[in-house]
Symmetry: C2
Subunit: 451 residues, 2 copies
């Protein structure tokens, strides 16, 4: 009996088969995806992960690796009958190498805990995102998480110096600590990043850290339309070398944030589109440069800059609390896509239009990381299983030459869209790798590929 085997491997306490105990592992935080697990196991080591995988191969049972469960595409909750493999106990954060700026962490360590360790040693993690208190490093690598600093430091794939991962047959691959320059064969770490638990289970990661910037400034600026905001973002990215983040949101989103998150407007003037710009430097205060750059856009009262931590935090709240504000209005359809920069404004403008065309009553809140083409489209109104609006938005993305998933991946939600976006040939090439590494198809079945 597979649950007996699992219990033997991880111990009674860490093999959850009781319905009530399983529940929190079976539904993702958006409440949109859920399924019943055969059991939830919480291994305490890579060896236990290996034994679990071997047991599941023998029993022909699928395995769903799970970190902080903060994804949007249903990739970390069971579809029905799988074993959920929670990595949360592998949460050790190693010593930061203060000279090299590197740290080895367990897959289950939260981003916030690694950030704390990095900062204590005078460094910073290259990726930051709103779900930092829940999102785990393993999950962030598995989904190649992006966040607000991709423009400057790249996504999670770029932060990996080394890794430990367990293959479906129980083989433990380990390359720790790993070197910043290491050209010894295929970059298996880069392959695992974004593989969404379908190739191997990540158990440890060696991260490169980035310089902690001594000086930062944040601005919010209002524009008459998305086209002007995007053009300003492109110019700032090119001319202001200290730019760390370029975020766009609209007045509809700000309205919700003010209502549900009690955040004050940045200035009295209201504009259809806003840019949040963060600039940073470790040598001097970037405030003057940021102010000067913004003056060129002649925005009048619709711009504000903050250099003090409190003021910067308040401005960031306008952007970061979108998620929570949208959730307060209902269960949203959340689509995380990217388009070429030249089509970004068109995407922002047309997303609400294509949504309304298929569902008159739906409300669309758009925001995103304009610096790297990433748009988050949130749709309120349609029921959770109504995929019409999702399809309408993704059709638009393909029309604009974009990607159906920017940073959250394919999961189970976008499996058919993966084929439409990338084409049969590319998906076949991916499937060949999947088949080579996981011939029995036990790792996260239903994710990325239709079984």
């Amino acid at each position: 009996m597979i649950s007996d085997d699992l219990r033997d491997i991880v111990g009674e306490r860490h093999c959850l088969t009781d319905t009530a105990l399983r529940a929190s592992y079976e539904t993702d935080w958006t409440r949109r995806f859920s399924g019943s697990a055969l059991a939830v196991v919480r291994p305490g080591s890579a060896k236990e992960v290996a034994a679990i995988l071997r047991a599941c191969v023998s029993a022909g049972v699928g395995v769903v690796p799970q970190g902080g469960n903060t994804g949007l595409v249903g990739g970390s909750v069971p579809r029905g009958g799988e074993v959920v493999l929670s990595l949360l106990r592998l949460n050790e954060v190693g010593n930061v190498d203060p000279d090299a700026g590197e740290v080895t962490v367990g897959a289950g360590a939260t981003l916030a805990s690694v950030q704390a360790a990095a900062r204590a040693a005078g460094w910073e993690v290259g990726v930051d995102l709103g779900a930092r208190d829940s999102a785990t490093i393993g999950g962030m690598v598995a989904t190649n998480a992006g966040g607000v600093n991709v423009l400057r430091h790249g996504p999670m794939r770029r932060q990996i110096l080394g890794f430990e991962a367990v293959m479906a047959d129980g083989t433990i691959l380990r390359r720790l600590p790993g070197m910043p320059k290491d050209n010894t064969g295929y970059d298996l770490g880069a392959l695992l990043a974004g593989s969404e638990g379908t190739l191997a289970v990540i158990t440890q990661v060696r991260l490169r850290l980035v310089s902690r910037l001594a000086h930062r400034a944040v601005a919010v600026a209002g524009f008459e339309n998305a086209t002007l905001a995007v053009a300003a973002a492109a110019r700032l990215r090119r001319e202001l070398g200290s730019v760390l983040a370029l975020e766009l949101f609209t007045d509809a989103g700000m309205e919700l944030v003010m209502r549900h998150a009690s955040v004050a407007a940045p200035f009295s003037a209201r504009r259809p589109a806003y840019l949040l710009i963060e600039a940073g430097s470790d040598e001097r205060d970037p405030t003057d440069g940021l102010v000067a750059a913004l003056e060129a856009f002649e925005l009048g009262d619709a711009a504000v800059v903050a250099s003090d931590p409190g003021g910067r935090h308040r401005l960031w709240q306008l952007r970061e609390r979108h998620t929570e504000a949208v959730n307060a209005e209902g269960v949203p359809h959340k689509l995380d896509v990217s388009v070429p920069l030249a089509r970004y404004a068109e995407m922002v403008d047309r997303a609400p239009v294509v949504v309304t065309a298929v569902d008159e009553g739906a409300r669309t809140i758009v925001y995103g990381h304009v610096g790297d083409g990433n748009v988050h489209v949130n749709v309120l109104g349609p029921s959770a299983d109504d995929e019409q609006v999702d399809d309408a938005v993704l059709e638009l993305v393909l029309e604009l030459g974009g990607s159906v998933s920017a940073e959250h991946g394919i999961g189970v939600a976008k499996v058919d869209w993966l084929v439409r976006d990338r084409g049969e040939d590319a998906v076949d090439a991916m499937r060949a790798i999947k088949a080579a590494w996981d011939p029995d198809g036990i790792l996260n079945p239903g994710v990325l590929f239709r079984p």
Copy 2:
């Protein structure tokens, strides 16, 4: 007959079977690796590449993709009887997108030609290296080339936004232009980067570009030993955010550069170890910050800073002309390795010792990118086919927990070392991918894996 088929595909002019015409394609620039090709073909399109690969699969003939032939590990020259597939005709450089900072280029475009196009549009290529006039973008991606700016911008893998590549069965994978954030399945571009022509033939690449820095300063500083130089590098990397490059070389190397490349000493004092530091900013001159940072090391006369283009170029010559100066003394054994930063000085100090232990008369010139752990070990004296010194250096690398290839890859030269460095399990995992994509093993046979 395979050569008739090839001639039909690319045309008479571009299928070279004559010994004299083939010669320059059959030996790499180090003169250490060479072999005889069945033919050299120079396709003009991805379709022709696909047809060539299909013909070679049918005939059971291996294919050696070749770019600028500037590698160090014999990965781009025939081992004997293969078809050399030169990508040099695919050298188109597309229009730079001035807002997004992106450009699509053919695999055969040289780095220098892409740099020229990027600069004309106000941008810069993220990777730079001494062989820029010969090295091609396709070869640089295939080997995941690094160079002097990896510290700041990452290696070639990090610059790829999209790609076009031809699989062994002639399938053309194409993802152009590609988005900075794109999580649609496995990152096939990241997998191809560093795959050394064993998985597919890269025909086009979409590159992200980076900001062109308006202000730069270069310093050279002398230290009493490698330990002090490496400690200074670590501190500069951490405290001076504007650092772009941190290069180390020794007095033995500088002596050769002065002799063969007619480059003047940076200052009259001679020291056992030197650091070259480049700092850059697009907002202000980094010279004062660099001078202030160097003063902390109390180097006396053994430091110089240049801010003007001519002065910066002269200082860079001290580092960049090492290759040429070493070659002027003989055919070197060139080992490109990396070690954790904490062992870098030990590597610099011990490399000459382990070399002399196996070959008393050998001379060892060490230099490298200390910012990212990369050490280039050049050994003069031993004959080309004497692998004793190579083995001694690579043993030392493994002892120090390093990587046997930092930026040039495995090629044919380090095939056995790949297994020793990464272990059987990791190499088996790589072989599984190779077998899935190239079941007949026609793509660069003998590279990465023993046939």
